[in-house]
């Protein structure tokens, strides 16, 4: 792998193509931006480092440090002061006041500020020309400002609360590092490590900085989070490669030392480390808006457009109708207030928060509130293999002995109960070799931990064998005590075998030579084989069987090891001094026992989860750094490549024809190698992504992961990426939703992600998808509910202007609805259970399936809202008529009605009303209009519970919703009947029977909508569905 080169190829892409423009406002000034861009360019360049090529003396000179005594304390202090602490700079976070301002001036706030400003304007104009100005406008302006401030503060609080979750991840454990300063070893905080420090690292430590090794004993490091290699790499003081990433004498910041010890000089710290550079690159990537943010913005634009259009139209209309400027401005305020669903954004925030909490309980921690929904819209998941789909733990999967393949139990909890004939003598030999010819060991003090989950020292394959033998045979430690090791040849890459000689417990005088290694190598040593405990001379038939078995196991992507032994003759009995360098003992004519193959097995829940994603129309793509064969095997076992499908190569092999002759149309699965991907242009990649349903990308680099994500996004998909390593973080950041692993994930990946799976389990993603889709549906319902009441809020103003009737609904009352009675019911819809199996339908199309579409507006504004408005007006007319003003006499009465000097206005019966009496009447009507809206909103809430199903099927199980109905009614009653409300809000008590005026309309709404849904169900895809199903 040459990351430098690949970075070079990736650079122009990132510059020229940003699939979605960053719509968020950039507050930086131009110069700053330029500087930042330059920095990013530098980050993308090859890692420039020559420390690995220096001799120790040169190194000592360069960092002016004594290689045995380390820095002096004083020097270290100075360097720390100059270079700053050894920690990654957190990605530039938007300052709090900017976030706050965004809440203050984003969304509807601007419209409401306009309203408030107009209020103050109207008041001051009034003040100027009339001595006794009406204070109503002043109050309304104050109330509107307060509304904006309070909802803004609320949203800000919610957002900051969810981002605080993330801070708990930071500084989880303050890491310590062992440094030598002034010749003394001391434990210091990692962030105090400075350039040139002499550092000691031992097995189990996290590397505190980029370190040039000067001495090492059996040191191995796990670079997986940096490069994706899952094998631990050994480290020594010699420079073995030009490329600093490949050479063996450098260990990298934040990787883990698996075993051994190393001592070295710190050559870079903090952001200058290789890890730090990737992290900075990641944080430099621009992120698009989340789908829900796009939807909400779309919706806000829609509502704002309606508000401005209506407001301006009626502003001029009222001027034409002969109203004064001041009146027209007041109408404008009223229309704006009525049009803006003030409480809606807060409702949406609460709904998202509720879902985020619910998801956190199911191990999906959401960092960014808006990301809650994104998983629901996701149409493609690019999943990393190791750790997400698999257990990240080598496990014995198959055994081959007695010419038979046996399957071992690979499940996490050892529950499949698969067994094999343990009574066979061959198994006895195999188990002994596997347990004794094995350098892995359990770490101490883990007796209570299940065997499969215990931590071990040593190589992954050996640990797998150790655990397997411990589980299915006997205690390995006991076995090792009884059969002490007298000599061994450790595994190395040239031998490809490992040999050990043991004293036998059943014959304490004799030695047995045991060997394991690459199967073909092992077979070369053997002249006989074991079958059911009996030795037979090696024959051709056996060799063919061996080949077949080896191919079969290897073809499953498993790592295969062969096992053989030799009973040493009696002249090598106890006390013989074995010399492993000169081989003073026979090591030929061994007896072949069997094969054991290992794999990092898939997690138990993954196949099911992948199946669910499939059903839900989500394409699951595997993107891994691992080998194609292993990747394919895992892909097949978890269902990413389904059983029915085969790749071109497989099909060609089955039909026995060259790949080029295949009919490519029928092939739905493909495994793409990283080296092929490197040569593709974006069209070819698009073609692959479009053509194949089941795709596995193997041997991919971090940059290629990014390219794949961008490719999917280019095709219009909403992409989720899972990953744990630092190498995944650019892709995590670029994805619409990046999902990091909570346990194995690196800090950088968690930082880049939007969501964290606390249990590292792919199955949790399915939960996320489900919750995301549910909240999208429920938000639609919630918005439909809230928007409906806009019509009975707007129409009074329009009628007031056009028909010149007394104002049926005041601005304060509108605010009481939007911010009072409508809030809890709207939130309660977030608790609504799904109508059908949401995991069986396709993901929404972000282009056409909007949160708020014209059908929803049509339903809310055009149909239900209109009925609600009728209910309100009916109540209004009833009350006025019963008190003396008949509807027809009201037309055109406004000018007299609102004339404060006219204190003997005649009604339809010839009675004469003072101004104040009329106003009390008017406010009583407004209260009743308000109550009517509450009553018709009952029905609206109930019909919004479902979009397709009948209420009778859905039921009224949503307790929060029932509470919501109760709450809004109580609130309405309190507002109407509490003494003092007449002064505070100008709400007056109503006669009981005025509450009932709206009930027929409530019933009408319910019947109308049940009928509509019935037709929609009866005629799927019919006209009504197309026009009204939102």
């Amino acid at each position: 792998m040459e990351p430098g080169k690949e970075k070079g190829t990736a650079t122009p892409r990132e510059q020229n193509q940003s699939p979605r423009p960053n719509l968020k406002p950039v507050t930086m000034n131009k110069n700053l931006r330029k500087k930042k861009k330059k920095d990013l360019e530098e980050l993308k360049k090859e890692v420039d480092m020559d420390d690995h090529k220096l001799t120790l003396d040169e190194l000592s000179a360069k960092y002016s440090v004594d290689l045995t005594r380390g820095h002096s304390l004083k020097d270290a202090q100075e360097i720390l002061f100059i270079n700053g602490p050894n920690s990654l700079t957190p990605p530039p976070s938007i300052p709090n006041w900017v976030k706050f301002c965004k809440q203050m001036f984003g969304g509807f706030s601007l419209l409401l500020w306009t309203g408030a400003f107009l209020c103050f304007l109207a008041y001051s104009i009034n003040l100027r020309y009339n001595e006794k100005a009406d204070k109503d406008n002043l109050y309304l302006g104050i109330v509107l400002s307060a509304v904006v401030l309070i909802t803004g503060c609320f949203s800000y609080y919610q957002e900051s609360k969810s981002s605080k979750i993330m801070e708990s991840f930071k500084n989880m454990v303050p890491q310590q590092a062992l440094v030598i300063r002034d010749g003394e070893r001391m434990q210091i905080n990692v962030k105090d490590v400075v350039l040139g420090d002499l550092v000691e690292v031992k097995g189990g430590d996290q590397v505190p900085a980029d370190i040039r090794v000067i001495s090492a004993q059996g040191c191995k490091v796990d670079n997986s989070s940096l490069t994706g290699e899952s094998e631990p790499q050994s480290r020594c003081p010699d420079c073995t490669h030009e490329n600093p990433l490949e050479t063996r004498n450098i260990i990298f910041f934040s990787t883990n030392c698996v075993e051994g010890t190393a001592r070295g000089i710190v050559i870079s710290t903090g952001d200058n480390t290789v890890m730090g550079r990737i992290a900075s690159l990641t944080s430099g990537l621009t992120m698009g808006q989340t789908p829900i943010a796009v939807e909400i913005e779309h919706f806000i634009h829609l509502i704002t457009a309606v508000a401005v259009f209506l407001g301006v139209t009626f502003f001029f209309l009222s001027l034409i109708l002969g109203y004064g400027w001041l009146d027209a401005v007041i109408f404008l305020i009223g229309i704006i207030v009525a049009n803006v669903p003030e409480g809606l954004l807060a409702t949406v925030t609460v709904c998202l928060t509720l879902t985020a909490k619910r998801m956190a309980r199911k191990n999906c921690l959401v960092k960014n509130l808006e990301a809650v929904e994104t998983l629901g819209s996701t149409s493609t998941i690019c999943s990393d293999k190791t750790g997400t789909l698999t257990q990240n733990r080598m496990t014995v999967a198959h055994l081959w002995f007695d010419k038979t393949v046996y399957e071992a139990d690979t499940s996490e909890e050892q529950t499949t109960g698969k067994t094999f004939p343990k009574s066979s003598d061959t198994w006895f030999y195999l188990a002994r070799i596997a347990g004794l010819c094995n350098r892995a060991d359990f770490k101490p003090h883990q007796e209570s931990v299940p065997v499969a989950k215990r931590a071990t020292t040593g190589d992954a394959s050996e640990s797998a064998l150790l655990k397997f033998i411990e589980q299915s045979y006997n205690s390995v430690n006991e076995m090792r005590e009884k059969n002490p090791k007298v000599a061994e040849i450790p595994f190395n890459s040239t031998n490809k075998y490992q040999m050990s000689i043991h004293l036998l417990e059943d014959n304490p005088q004799a030695h047995m030579l045991m060997m394991k290694g690459a199967p073909e190598k092992i077979l070369d040593f053997c002249t006989s084989f074991m079958l059911n405990g009996q030795e037979f001379p090696m024959d051709e038939e056996m060799k063919v069987d061996f080949q077949n078995a080896y191919l079969e196991l290897g073809g499953m992507g498993e790592r295969v090891l062969g096992f053989c032994y030799l009973n040493l003759p009696s002249n090598f009995s106890k006390g013989f001094q074995f010399n492993t360098d000169e081989l003073n003992f026979p090591m030929e004519s061994l007896c072949f026992v069997g094969l054991i193959s290992m794999i990092d097995p898939p997690r138990t829940a993954v196949p099911d989860a992948v199946g669910k994603c499939r059903n839900a129309g989500i394409k699951v793509i595997m993107v891994t750094g691992d080998h194609p064969i292993t990747a394919k095997a895992i892909a097949k076992s978890v269902g990413i490549i389904s059983e029915a499908n085969e790749t071109a190569e497989e099909m060609a092999a089955r039909l026995n024809i060259p790949v080029s002759q295949l009919n490519t149309k029928s092939i739905k699965a493909i495994v793409v190698h990283g080296s092929e991907l490197k040569d593709m242009d974006s069209n070819q990649l698009d073609h692959i992504l479009k053509t194949y349903k089941e795709i596995v990308f193997a041997r991919t680099s971090p940059q290629q992961k990014l390219i794949i994500v961008e490719g999917c996004q280019r095709l219009g998909a909403i992409v989720a990426v899972t990953g744990d390593g630092v190498n995944d973080s650019p892709a995590l950041k670029k994805a619409d939703i990046g999902i990091a692993m909570g346990i194995t994930g690196s800090d950088v990946s968690k930082q880049a992600a939007d969501m964290i799976l606390l249990d590292d389990n792919f199955a949790s993603i399915v939960t996320g998808v489900e919750e995301g889709r549910l909240i999208f549906d429920n938000l639609k319902k919630s918005i439909a509910y809230t928007l409906t009441s806009n019509i009975p809020e707007i129409t009074p103003f329009l009628m007031f202007i056009i028909l010149s009737i007394p104002l049926p609904l005041g601005t304060i009352t509108i605010l009481c609805i939007d911010l009072g009675t409508d809030m809890v019911p709207a939130i309660s819809l977030a608790y609504e259970s799904p109508e059908s199996d949401i995991m069986k339908r396709l993901p929404r199309n972000p282009k056409t399936d909007n949160l708020v579409n014209h059908r929803l507006i049509g339903m809310a504004y055009g149909q239900i809202g209109m009925i609600q408005a009728l209910a309100g007006f009916f109540t209004y007319f009833v009350i006025l008529a019963e008190n003396g003003f008949k509807p027809l006499d009201l037309l055109g009465i406004r000018l007299y009605w609102d004339d404060a000097r006219l204190n003997d206005l005649e009604d339809s019966y010839g009675q004469q009303w003072t101004y104040e009496q009329r106003k009390v009447m008017e406010f009583t009507c407004q209260t009743s209009f308000f109550i009517s809206i509450v009553i018709v909103q009952w029905a609206d809430l109930i019909i919004c519970k479902t979009r397709r199903n009948s209420l009778f099927k859905q039921g009224m199980k949503n307790k929060v919703l029932l509470f919501g109905i109760f709450e809004e009614t109580m609130l309405a009653a309190i507002l109407s009947y509490t003494p003092g409300m007449d002064v505070a809000l100008r709400m007056y008590p109503l006669k009981i029977n005025w509450w009932f005026c709206a009930i027929p309309y409530s019933a009408l709404i319910f019947i109308y909508d049940e009928g509509r849904k019935l037709i929609i169900r009866r005629r799927p895809g019919g006209w009504l569905e197309k026009e009204t199903y939102y």
């Binding site: 479009k690 053509t691 396709l842 199309n845 579409n853 149909q863 019966y909 197309k1026």
Partner: protein
């Protein structure tokens, strides 16, 4: 594939409306499915290039024409044909599968929907009228207790005038004269009956029967009737102000205790007003004018008046006057409403 073709074609036909309307049919379709389809189509195209035409034909005739035009690039498809095409596309756009006819249908459906809503509200209002009596309002408590109003009333309750400058008070005189036309003795005698004072003028009988009204003659107002002094005292700095109580259907003052009017200085020196003459002299509204039966049956009802003759008021300064109704069942101290049971006005008579 289909989508790609569309987008390629789009700039040639930049009709605004195409972009406004959502793609109806694709709403519930998944783009992945689309992709599959597209991929398949593409695969077919690659193997059999001729297939594309067939695909296109399925899409609709217009499109085929369009394709031909673009493909062959012949100028024979002249402007005339293009215009026709635009019209047909406007009526039926195959790409959006949306037509004007359909938009029209939606409008028609909404028309019927609103028509039925209108029918519903009409029905409900009709039912409302069935429950409401045309003679008696269902509730009168909102209009009680009665409000008070004075005449002359132009725009304000400040009486500012200069005795020596008739133009400053002329409009009061005109206003009063106009107001009292309905009280002319001849008219009252002709239209209304002279009923006994001191008791209610109760007229039993059917609700819809026309009710008789009691006479209130202009001459009852004596010096303030304008009959003797056509300037109602304004020319002498002794202005007449008429006070009336708001009509309320069914309102009856306490028996034997008619509602009285009394005026005094509201704030300041009580001696600013040295004398007021009331007409009728009782300064009260006689019981015979009650109850009121509503304007439908009690057509000629004449509201009783009390005239206040401010015969000796301090000149050249604003004198705030408060006139209150007094009597049982009368409230004259509501804080919010300064016209219930009382009225406040200022007199500023200059000489």
């Amino acid at each position: 594939m289909r989508r790609q073709l569309r987008s390629r074609r789009a700039p040639a036909f930049p009709y605004g409306y195409r972009y406004r309307l959502d793609d109806q049919d694709e709403v519930n379709q998944n783009y992945l499915a689309d992709e599959e389809e597209e991929a398949e189509e593409e695969a077919q195209v690659m193997t059999v290039p001729g297939l594309e035409e067939e695909e296109e034909e399925e899409e609709g005739k217009e499109e085929e024409e369009e394709r031909e035009e673009e493909g062959q690039g012949q100028p024979t498809g002249n402007a005339w044909r293009r215009k026709l095409q635009i019209v047909t596309e406007y009526l039926w756009d195959p790409e959006k599968r949306m037509s004007l006819a359909r938009t029209g249908l939606i409008l028609v459906i909404y028309f019927f929907f609103y028509a039925s809503l209108a029918a519903v509200i009409t029905l409900f209002l009709y039912m409302l009228f069935l429950t409401i009596s045309p003679y008696m309002p269902t509730f009168t408590e909102q209009v009680k207790p009665p409000g008070v109003m004075i005449r002359p009333f132009a725009h304000s309750l400040n009486f500012n005038f200069n005795v020596s400058e008739p133009e400053t008070w002329q409009h009061y005189v005109i206003s009063l004269n106009g107001f009292l036309q309905g009280y002319n003795d001849s008219l009252q005698e002709e239209m209304n009956v002279d009923c006994p004072p001191g008791q209610y003028f109760i007229q039993d009988g059917d609700e819809d029967e026309d009710k008789k009204a009691c006479q209130f003659k202009r001459s009852f107002l004596k010096n303030c009737s304008g009959l003797e002094d056509p300037t109602f005292g304004y020319s002498t700095g002794q202005p007449c102000i008429l006070l009336k109580m708001n009509r309320i259907v069914g309102f009856r003052p306490e028996l034997g205790d008619p509602v009285k009017v009394s005026c005094k200085v509201q704030k300041g020196d009580e001696n600013d007003i040295r004398s007021i003459n009331y007409y009728p002299e009782s300064a009260s509204f006689d019981l015979r004018y009650y109850p009121y039966y509503g304007k439908l049956t009690h057509v000629n009802y004449t509201s009783p008046l009390v005239a206040m003759h401010f015969t000796d008021v301090v000149k050249n300064q604003a004198v705030p006057v408060q006139c209150q109704l007094k009597g049982k069942g009368i409230i004259n101290d509501v804080i919010n409403d300064r016209f219930v049971g009382r009225i406040v006005f200022t007199l500023n008579i200059e000489t």
